[in-house]
Symmetry: D5
Subunit: 154 residues, 10 copies
Amino acid sequence: MTATDVSGLTQLGAATGLPDSPETALLEKVPAGHAGTLYVVRFTAPEFTSICPMTGQPDFAHIVIDYVPKDWLVESKSLKLYLHSFRNHGAFHEDCTLDIAKRLVGLLDPVWLRIGAYWYPRGGIPIDVFWQTGAAPGGVWIPDQGVAPYRGRG
Amino acid sequence: MTATDVSGLTQLGAATGLPDSPETALLEKVPAGHAGTLYVVRFTAPEFTSICPMTGQPDFAHIVIDYVPKDWLVESKSLKLYLHSFRNHGAFHEDCTLDIAKRLVGLLDPVWLRIGAYWYPRGGIPIDVFWQTGAAPGGVWIPDQGVAPYRGRG
Amino acid sequence: MTATDVSGLTQLGAATGLPDSPETALLEKVPAGHAGTLYVVRFTAPEFTSICPMTGQPDFAHIVIDYVPKDWLVESKSLKLYLHSFRNHGAFHEDCTLDIAKRLVGLLDPVWLRIGAYWYPRGGIPIDVFWQTGAAPGGVWIPDQGVAPYRGRG
Amino acid sequence: MTATDVSGLTQLGAATGLPDSPETALLEKVPAGHAGTLYVVRFTAPEFTSICPMTGQPDFAHIVIDYVPKDWLVESKSLKLYLHSFRNHGAFHEDCTLDIAKRLVGLLDPVWLRIGAYWYPRGGIPIDVFWQTGAAPGGVWIPDQGVAPYRGRG
Amino acid sequence: MTATDVSGLTQLGAATGLPDSPETALLEKVPAGHAGTLYVVRFTAPEFTSICPMTGQPDFAHIVIDYVPKDWLVESKSLKLYLHSFRNHGAFHEDCTLDIAKRLVGLLDPVWLRIGAYWYPRGGIPIDVFWQTGAAPGGVWIPDQGVAPYRGRG
Amino acid sequence: MTATDVSGLTQLGAATGLPDSPETALLEKVPAGHAGTLYVVRFTAPEFTSICPMTGQPDFAHIVIDYVPKDWLVESKSLKLYLHSFRNHGAFHEDCTLDIAKRLVGLLDPVWLRIGAYWYPRGGIPIDVFWQTGAAPGGVWIPDQGVAPYRGRG
Amino acid sequence: MTATDVSGLTQLGAATGLPDSPETALLEKVPAGHAGTLYVVRFTAPEFTSICPMTGQPDFAHIVIDYVPKDWLVESKSLKLYLHSFRNHGAFHEDCTLDIAKRLVGLLDPVWLRIGAYWYPRGGIPIDVFWQTGAAPGGVWIPDQGVAPYRGRG
Amino acid sequence: MTATDVSGLTQLGAATGLPDSPETALLEKVPAGHAGTLYVVRFTAPEFTSICPMTGQPDFAHIVIDYVPKDWLVESKSLKLYLHSFRNHGAFHEDCTLDIAKRLVGLLDPVWLRIGAYWYPRGGIPIDVFWQTGAAPGGVWIPDQGVAPYRGRG
Amino acid sequence: MTATDVSGLTQLGAATGLPDSPETALLEKVPAGHAGTLYVVRFTAPEFTSICPMTGQPDFAHIVIDYVPKDWLVESKSLKLYLHSFRNHGAFHEDCTLDIAKRLVGLLDPVWLRIGAYWYPRGGIPIDVFWQTGAAPGGVWIPDQGVAPYRGRG
Amino acid sequence: MTATDVSGLTQLGAATGLPDSPETALLEKVPAGHAGTLYVVRFTAPEFTSICPMTGQPDFAHIVIDYVPKDWLVESKSLKLYLHSFRNHGAFHEDCTLDIAKRLVGLLDPVWLRIGAYWYPRGGIPIDVFWQTGAAPGGVWIPDQGVAPYRGRG
Ligand SMILES: [Ca+2]
Ligand SMILES: [Ca+2]
Ligand SMILES: [Ca+2]
Ligand SMILES: [Ca+2]
Ligand SMILES: [Ca+2]
Ligand SMILES: [Ca+2]
Ligand SMILES: [Ca+2]
Ligand SMILES: [Ca+2]
Ligand SMILES: [Ca+2]
Ligand SMILES: [Ca+2]
Ligand SMILES: [Ca+2]
Ligand SMILES: [Ca+2]
Ligand SMILES: [Ca+2]
Ligand SMILES: [Ca+2]
Ligand SMILES: [Ca+2]
Ligand SMILES: [Ca+2]
């Protein structure tokens, strides 16, 4: 049976506060236990919030991240803290979504990664943002994210 | 078999424009065919729109009306035209909902009437307004309106 | 074990055409096998169609009938044929719904009966009609009909 | 902690064939472990089938049984075998449903029992049958069965 | 037609920042336009977030508020700002929910009010909190909130 | 603003192992912050598992608990650990469900409590168990649990 | 972190009325913050309404727009105002849908764009219109729009 | 803005009866306003009914038609009348479905067309029929029809 | 208009008993009315039951069959009788599913055929079996079967 | 008709305890009855639980396995026991998922296999893991797993 090596981590199992900003949040990684095997890891984060840079009011999003690891896995507690670090960060929906994805790409150098960000409506019209690093690698199974479309009322 | 008397109507079967305002819209009625029988008629109007009196921007609502007729039924084409007459009318959600209901009560003098207005979100928080003329009459079957609650995203 | 007496039926198991009208349709009954027991029988008829008396165009409805038998059950094949007999019959939604219910009440003299008729939209606004013979008898279990509300699009 | 007494059972843990008929099926009971406490036990049996007495063709139903035990619980494996014993039994929907419920009432002498039988459509119109032994006892929580209504297609 | 009096408001139509805390948030009211009529106003706020007082980590909730106005309506923009003011406030789920409801009761002195708070899971088990000021007033129609139960996965 | 007193707790914020059995699990309580206010707290635990006492195989359930506190709230981390302590405990569905509820009643002496346990199917037929301490107290709002009924396949 | 340049905008943050027509509505753009990155932006607009050119009656639609930016993003407030400008504009469903899409293509010169317009039924039969500028660019992730099909009643 | 030319139509805006048969129904077309643009038009017709040629009993279907126009659009009122003309027409499900599609192909000479016919069950087993004129043209967006599969009961 | 030739059938319109076994069931075919046209016919059979060869207990499945006819259509009444003939037949899920499909392939020699069998759970884990005769023919539209995955409870 | 050879099995039909660990669990196979036919077998296991190696607390998952057999089928009772053997096994989500899949690959040497593991949330963010042995073989029908995405609340 496989046992992931967590010896390099600093936050897991320790008391941790809320990071002040995405820049100062510590995003950690562990060696992928099945190196050479191409599989998908999906994180679903329905608790994302940031600040609108134009109005100073809170924004909310449901975010789903899929990636195919190469040598590293993102450690999930540090990912949670990183996402929470946007709580007082001002950014447009498109910028915020791509910044998260590119930070993960920089950390993990994955075979492939994509992000879907499903933002709560403002002015009656929600915005979704979808990005991937490129065409998905052949022979890897990547299910649809299947998030329900926005329907207003009725 | 019962045949509703439509001889007093002026708009049904005729070419009709869009009324300018709720005040000028002609809401018509026909004699109820089963006088003395207590039953419920439900109209579901997912196409309602009016104007926000503070911002001048359009508002939208999904509206459901239930009533128990006494002597009169509302004619459905005139109801459609009446609802469409709010298209350029400015009113708050609470006022608009109750004004519709009370206009129908004035026209029909029904045994009982209720309205549920499910407004599209503004600022992230939708408002619903629910009113009925009083406790429902005994022995009448009035199913739940069953409109899905607002859920944001995810 | 109980065996319903079907000896008085004329249509069950025989070749039967489509009745010309509700007036000429033969609605049959069989003795209720559990006389003295108060239970509910529900028929769900999603295939109802009649003719609009104003325009001559077809109308459609999803109809649900609940009743508590006294001495008689309606025979289900004859009920199907009776409902199909409205195919070329012109009537308003309210009239049509109550006529069906009252025909059944006249045939069966049930302890209690109700009908829910969920009509397809015309002009964007569907009409539902709900009627029951009176307050439901005490101690009888009558589940909600649970038909989904009309939602337009989205 | 409570331990139900299963010492009187004959079928549980033994190899058992399919009973030939409802009459010969052995329906067993165990003493209720919380005597004096009024609670509800719900069985959901989506795998019920019997034979139509008019045509010899199979009928199918989704059946839900709720009861409030007095001194006895029905043993669930024997209930499964009892329900499967209708496989070659011919009966009308109404008769079949009430026969099942009354057999359980005779075995268990419960405080209260109800049955909901949701039959698959024949001729386009499904029949549901609902029965309970009487008004539910006060102070007992009995949730709605919540089975989705039949919707045809679309 | 009814026109709500908004002359006393200070935040509506003005640029407004995010309040620092619930204590400093300005919750405003307007005179109810249909005084003497008993109706329900429902707000659905799927974008609520506060801080866990034990761990300092963010908490999230979907909140629904129903009330029957007496003389006052809560102004919806100020309600939005008030709810957002919990963003950096630490409180347990039960406390937070009741504090919101009681602040509204103090402001509006409504005929009746209830709150349902549907918190996102921590440790696998979400908490919901439900409170109302007392039995609902007779003859007022108050639909179920109908928020879907938590289902984990699958 | 209200602040719950957690000073008497021993497990919250500390490293805690999995209790060996329900008997040895430490279920803790905190003083209710809004004493005298009648409200409902709902826990949804979709991760419950125990052992079948007849076969030694695992059983699974989705469990929902509603209660109206008097002087005490159950501490949610200790509740999680208590529920997980059934992992190696053998009990019938009915016994297991009522034992959980009565342990909570003994700990909290609540105004009212109910439990709904939705067990995964065995032999094709799932069992649900519903219990409450008695009729719900007047004037308290207790929403339906709304758990979807079992549907088999299709 | 990325910060979108909004210095060229004229409507964002300013008081804006409802444009008189699509021709006079001001649709604005901002430079895309992640130039060279191929991603999808989705707008969901469930509040669209225009006028039927044959009858003068209102039409309604749920509209979803997906695009892959090249150098420009559409500014979302101006998009909202542009869509609302069809409120008094008469056009057939097919024309209206394609006019919106082509206006955006002219403004943004995107890598790729598609529109799905889900119109509310008229005469019982809703019309949907689907268009894209051509085959989607390779390596870009474009989720299904997933809008539920129209189902009538039942 | 585009304006479809309707000058050649004979039924739109005029009083029209129900055609006697598919052969005599007048199916009309208008010039496509965006000639040279490849887009999809979808009609959803949940109100289709014909006659079973073996038994003379009514059949029902939910029908969805997708097509890519070349030079012509089908006029929607005439399509509705054409579909209603099957009301007294006897045909098997497979024949009826393909006849409708081929009539449209003959009228419009479209770039591409497909039909999905979802028939209501007979004998417990519904039949669906799916046909298209050939492989869909490259670069055209054709969403799934997404009609829910038949599920019987439960 | 097309009229299928049914002159060779022996069971349609005649009284028919339940076949004793799949081997003795008479599966009939009729000439395909649109020879040369590649379309899909889908049968949905939610009422399938057979016997477990290890335990003698009933098994249940929801079965969906898609095929592209060459020269023959299967007659639907004979298909119903054939499926019902498995009622007393013992077979593993995988064998039973493929035997049905291969019997149809032998009868019809279709261009292409697939079967999806969604078996009810045994021991908590349902089995689904999916087979097709080979890659689907080019240019034919074959929608997803869309059967909901098994979800256990909650 | 096909009859699978079960003569080599040791656990089926015998009393079996819960295996102590994945290593000691006996996973058995039977010869595939339709050798040379490429079809898919899907197992859905909503009752999976293991132990978090960092905290010692239980983890839960909904697991779906699809495979195309070559010469062997996995025997379903032994698969159930194997999955239950993880009950006291500590492993990370990614490791656990791939270990299950690779054990099956080692046992069966299938043409192709994939696994989807949908883990219950920890810290608000569920992890899903998706793996397949490589690109699916051509001409085999492999439906989407269709498991609903995690949605949090509301
Ligand atoms: Ca909004
Ligand atoms: Ca909003
Ligand atoms: Ca949400
Ligand atoms: Ca309409
Ligand atoms: Ca809508
Ligand atoms: Ca049928
Ligand atoms: Ca329908
Ligand atoms: Ca959790
Ligand atoms: Ca689950
Ligand atoms: Ca089972
Ligand atoms: Ca089913
Ligand atoms: Ca319509
Ligand atoms: Ca049928
Ligand atoms: Ca079912
Ligand atoms: Ca099971
Ligand atoms: Ca969590």
